[in-house]
């Protein structure tokens, strides 16, 4: 058993594992879809076994508390990161002003097999937002207003944006550059109940000139929409995107028919009447959930403190050599370890 441990703990494996991990990291660069997760997992597993064996059998590491803490924290980080991948969730969502968060509207959902979050408990209502731009359309701070339950039956206002996410039930919502306008429409079919909904236009101001979309009303024919926006955009000056101050005329085409609608106006189309209720906006959020974040941070910090303590213990008693002194005396200074590591513990 001890012989096996000793063999597994060889620092040759450590260097091999590190070399393989470097290859894995290089292959993972830019997250190519065809790189298997094993490119990282296999070297990390090798390093983990190697490290555990070293901790159990090698006094050079397990009798030095700081160094031991550092290495165990490396192990902890790998384990926590793995748990994080298994329990995480990432997604995107476009929230229209005035709408309440609905998990069914999430897009590009990716989650680990052990994800057990309580997404159904997440409640918030999207309010208005503004985004500042510098000259040359350089994006500045985003301020997105949201309402979250205050726990006493009322609502609490919060302003989130950029690096201040909205955190609810461990789910973190980050505003993104992806945001824009929406047209609120009501479809009044010839028979049946009217329905109100929104048509999202492409991201603004990124696709300033392509504010178009299409939709086929139930029982009707495809309608093409184009939003003629007035937002005060000035490409060469500082400017604030504030959808509450914007105006939009909705141009629609259905077959040969072309209409321009102001908010509140309606038009008859094959199968029913379409009313343009008004202009609204949507904010694109990135959702991120990973229950290990705080633990990862704590483990990493403890690890570095361990390494710092090791450094301190190793060198505190060994002053820096003085220039001239050594060669004049012709003597060699006392080193705490020989350069190849054959020193005392």
């Amino acid at each position: 058993m001890t012989a096996l441990l000793r063999r597994l703990s060889s620092t040759r494996f450590t260097l091999l594992g590190m070399a393989l991990l470097a290859v894995g990291a290089a292959l993972s660069y830019d997250n190519p879809v065809d790189t298997p997760v094993w490119a990282l997992v296999a070297p990390m597993a090798l390093l983990a076994v190697n490290l555990l064996a070293a901790v159990m059998s090698n006094a050079r590491i397990n009798r030095r508390p700081g160094l031991l803490i550092f290495h165990l924290s490396l192990l902890g980080i790998v384990i926590l990161a793995a748990i994080g991948r298994l329990t995480h969730m990432e997604a995107h969502i476009e929230m229209v002003e005035g709408s309440t968060f609905d998990p069914a509207e999430l897009m590009n959902v990716r989650k680990g097999p052990w994800h057990r979050g309580e997404l159904e408990k997440v409640v918030f209502v999207q309010g208005p937002f503004t985004v500042d731009y510098g000259p040359g359309m350089m994006r500045g701070p985003t301020r997105s207003h949201v309402l979250v339950p205050d726990g006493q039956g009322g609502w609490e206002r919060r302003v989130v944006g950029d690096d201040t996410p909205l955190v609810l039930e461990g789910y973190r919502f980050y505003t993104t550059f992806n945001k824009g306008f929406a047209a609120v429409l009501t479809w009044i079919p010839e028979t049946g109940e009217p329905v109100t909904g929104t048509i999202h236009m492409p991201s603004y101001p990124l696709f300033d000139f392509r504010q178009a979309n299409r939709w086929t009303p139930p029982g009707g024919e495809e309608v093409k929409f184009w939003l003629q926006l007035e937002t005060g955009l000035k490409a060469d000056q500082a400017w604030t995107l504030d959808p509450s101050k914007a105006h939009g005329i909705l141009v629609l085409r259905s077959g040969e028919q072309r209409e321009e609608l102001l908010p509140g106006q309606a038009t008859a189309l094959p199968g029913g009447v379409l009313r343009y209720e008004g202009l609204s906006s949507w904010m694109g959020y990135k959702l991120f959930y990973d229950p290990t974040l705080q633990w990862l941070f704590l483990t990493a910090v403890i690890g570095v403190l361990g390494l710092a303590a090791y450094f301190w213990n190793k060198f505190a008693t060994h002053p820096w050599p003085q220039a001239g002194e050594v060669s004049r005396k012709g003597a060699e200074p006392e080193l705490e370890t020989a350069p190849w590591g054959g020193g005392k513990l």
Partner: protein, 289 residues
């Protein structure tokens, strides 16, 4: 090419930058002059090292002038030197100069390494002279306190790598018989090697701190703590190579000059990570859309 706006801009930080670089240039010259002058004495003889106070004074002067240059630009643009390459280079010239000056002052044994360290700084110095001092736009994700921790730890990491490389450079130069006598009043290679790796261990501590602070910032700024973008991949590899080199040295009898080459390799890698990758892949770290 400048646009209309920047043509009217007066880059008031430039006079401070240029005089700061002149001070660094004079420090470099006096370091070389001092080295040449000490040649010829008997091995180990006490040598007159009065030039060292001049080097230190010039270096300190350069740091003060670069501080003024950074402050001037900061006041002019309303944000710190964190965004474009021009700003990053001045900022590193300042911090590397400052940390090296403190080491030069407190650890006299390091002083002869100035003839290696200061020319290395000149790679940055020459580069900054070739760049347009164009104004930068401050991305919204940079208003984050973790930026300070990340940048601050990174500065110490790079400075300790630079000092380690200075020692490694002396070890390598001493292998050239005609050059060796210039460094005769320094301790033997074995001691220099030991000191250099002491700095590299310190560099690993700050590199780790830089990665932690960077991950916290990335979580806030982009909603993920790690994503294998160009800069993250490069800095992880840099950290790993540093760890591997420290390990290899303890596990094998690595010849001292090979160790010295490894130190310089790690510094060059760090250099490319800092000044190459963020500009090779613009998207993530600049965060401007």
């Amino acid at each position: 090419m400048m646009n209309e706006m920047s043509e009217a801009t007066v880059f008031t930080e430039l006079p401070w930058l240029y005089t700061g670089l002149v001070a660094y240039a004079l420090a470099t010259l006096s370091a070389f002059y001092g080295l040449v002058r000490t040649r010829g004495g008997d091995a180990g003889a006490a040598v007159n090292r009065s030039h060292e106070s001049l080097v230190l004074a010039l270096l300190t002067g350069g740091v003060i002038l670069l501080t003024a240059s950074l402050a001037e630009r900061w006041l002019r643009l309303g944000h710190g030197p964190f965004v474009n390459l021009f700003e990053l280079l001045i900022s590193q010239l300042f911090s590397l100069g400052l940390i090296y000056a403190v080491a030069y002052w407190r650890l006299p044994v390091l002083r002869p390494t100035a003839v290696v360290v200061l020319p290395m700084l000149w790679v940055l110095g020459t580069w900054v002279l070739l760049l347009e001092p164009s104004d930068s736009h401050y991305p919204p994700t940079y208003y984050n306190e973790w930026l300070w921790a990340h940048v601050g730890f990174g500065k110490f990491f790079l400075a300790f790598c630079l000092i380690g490389s200075g020692l490694a450079g002396v070890i390598l130069l001493r292998r050239i018989p005609r050059v060796a006598p210039f460094f005769r009043h320094l301790p033997p290679d074995k001691v220099l090697d030991h000191m250099a790796w002491r700095f590299m261990l310190l560099a690993l501590i700050f590199d780790s701190l830089m990665l932690i602070a960077g991950a916290v910032w990335a979580q806030d700024a982009w909603g993920r703590y790690w994503a294998w973008d160009a800069l993250e991949t490069s800095s992880f590899l840099n950290w790993l190579f540093l760890g591997a080199a420290l390990h290899a040295r303890l596990s094998y009898r690595i010849p001292i000059h090979v160790g010295a080459l490894a130190i310089i390799g790690i510094f060059v890698f760090a250099f490319l990570t800092y000044f190459g990758t963020p500009f090779y892949s613009e998207a993530a770290h600049k965060g401007v859309i």
